[in-house]
């Protein structure tokens, strides 16, 4: 596979992610549309119509194409790893120039927008290695501003850990969450330190809607938080209805004896997440959307 080939695949992949939603999210929205009534049904149907039109016309379904965050699981025997980062940065720059991505990268001290979606540490890339594999998996999450704004992370006394977590969820989600484009997807991270909890809360958003944590106790807590959050009756876009939250996911690491770090990430209903699998001979498949990419 040539550099240009890989670059085109990456551009096509980013385009798929910002112009359409993964299948699990579309299906979740469709069932919300069916169960809502009155104004919230009207609004949800409008959202679905937008999803359809965005995909048909290849336009970004939300104008906020976010901060691009890549989570890479690189096969230890996979080719092209030495160019993958360059390819990502170039793809992001070109797509911004082509008017597919909104320039969202701003110097926090001068407030100057770089205009091309790159800057210090941006796009954000996290690396992991898949042992003895020649396959590389690239997950892209587009972090929009509106739903990133209410995120929180803190370290609490370990004796109160879970209770503090519940309190954090109910302090933030039903209040700030109404402005973050509900129905929301909630990612919760638990760990030894602040940044472990924070990154796990973001990785929680990468799980498919409807998937439960393999630990039955954690799964039970996910379901409990989901039903209690929806039980308040806030509904889509905060206009009173049945579904305020599409799903709650928890990811955790083991903690330190003295700490219990908790973090909360939110996603708007327009959860733009894609998983690209790169095979060594050049095949590329977006499993989240069920699309093969040609890269030509």
């Amino acid at each position: 596979m040539t550099f240009i080939n890989l670059l085109n695949i990456m551009k096509e992949f980013i385009k798929v992610v910002v112009t359409s939603l993964p299948n699990d999210v579309v299906n979740a929205l469709r069932s919300v549309c069916e169960s809502e009534e009155g104004i919230t049904k009207h609004v949800c149907n409008y959202m679905l119509k937008n999803v359809y039109l965005a995909s048909r016309t290849q336009k970004p379904l939300c104008q906020d194409t976010g901060t691009l965050m890549f989570f890479i699981k690189a096969g230890s025997k996979a080719p092209y790893l030495n160019v993958l980062k360059k390819v990502i940065v170039k793809a992001v720059k070109e797509l911004t120039k082509e008017g597919l991505l909104r320039p969202n990268s701003i110097d926090p001290f001068t407030n100057v927008n770089t205009g091309d979606n790159t800057g210090k540490y941006i796009p954000w890339i996290e690396w992991d290695i898949a042992d003895d594999s020649d396959i590389t998996e690239v997950t892209l999450y587009v972090a929009g501003g509106g739903s990133s704004l209410p995120a929180r992370a803190l370290v609490v006394r370990p004796t109160d850990g879970l209770n503090e977590l519940v309190k954090l969820v109910f302090d933030i989600v039903p209040t700030y969450g109404i402005n973050a484009c509900p129905p929301l997807i909630i990612g919760i991270g638990i760990g030894a330190t602040l940044e472990i909890a924070a990154t796990l809360s973001k990785r929680a958003l990468l799980k498919p809607v409807g998937a439960r944590n393999p630990n039955p106790k954690v799964a039970k807590l996910e379901t409990l938080l989901l039903s209690k959050l929806n039980g308040i009756g806030i509904g889509p876009q905060g206009l009173f209805g049945k579904t305020f939250v599409l799903d709650v996911h928890i990811e955790y690491s083991y903690r330190h004896p003295a700490t219990y770090a908790i973090a909360l990430s939110l996603s708007c209903w327009a959860l733009r997440r894609g998983i690209l699998t790169l095979y060594p001979e050049g095949r590329a498949y977006v499993s989240s959307h069920g699309v093969w990419l040609e890269g030509t």
Partner: protein, 204 residues
């Protein structure tokens, strides 16, 4: 919850056009909309800069679009609302100074803005967020752009729109605020729910 009362509005908007519009009503707008978000609000309200376009009777849109340029003409690729609550500290004075009549944004605004709506006769509406593609088809023309040096998302984009909506009224010109109803609902239940979960956690 709501009666799904639908109104059509056209700019310039007069006080009489909006006095009978209530929270929960749905609007569709024809006319001129100007995007104005964080920096525009700060510059006009805190630094006293004059808004480069007369907003009296017009609508503002808390939004930062994706744009394209062809043959010296701008086109909107995707546009939708951004979180309006960030503008809450500035909106009272912004409405007072500019005479803007309709605010379009995402989510809800607070009671200072509601007071401005009552004092100066204006309304605040929520546009469903995340609907940038479909909305680009309601933009007939980009009439101009000001303060582009703030960056594409923060600039003032002057847009001619047709049937922009559904815009759901969250603050009416009497100062009624839908956000207060939601917060009442949340506050009535929150403590009880947290206690229920605490006892469930003990038996996980």
């Amino acid at each position: 919850m709501f009666g799904l009362k639908v109104h059509k509005l056209r700019t310039p908007i007069n006080d009489e056009d909006i006095v009978n519009i209530a929270i929960g009503d749905i609007l569709f707008l024809d006319g001129v909309v100007v995007t104005a978000r964080d920096l525009v609000h700060r510059l006009v309200v805190k630094e006293g800069r004059n808004c480069p376009i007369d907003l009296n009777g017009l609508a503002i849109f808390h939004a930062g679009p994706i744009v394209k340029r062809h043959d010296n003409k701008w086109f909107i690729v995707s546009i939708g609302p951004t979180t309006s609550y960030r503008m809450e500290p500035y909106e009272y004075e912004f409405i007072e100074r500019t005479g803007v009549k309709l605010i379009i944004g995402k989510g809800f605004m607070g009671n200072r803005t509601a007071k401005a709506c009552r004092d100066f006769k204006a309304i605040v509406t929520l546009y469903p967020g995340g609907c940038g593609a479909i909305t680009s088809f309601n933009i007939e023309e980009v009439l101009g752009v000001y303060w582009l040096e703030l960056g594409i998302p923060e600039a003032l984009w002057v847009l001619k729109v047709k049937e922009l909506g559904p815009l759901i009224v969250t603050i009416d010109s009497k100062g009624n605020n839908l956000r207060n109803q939601i917060m009442d609902t949340v506050n009535k239940q929150r403590r009880k729910i947290i206690k229920e979960i605490y006892s469930s956690i003990a038996n996980l």
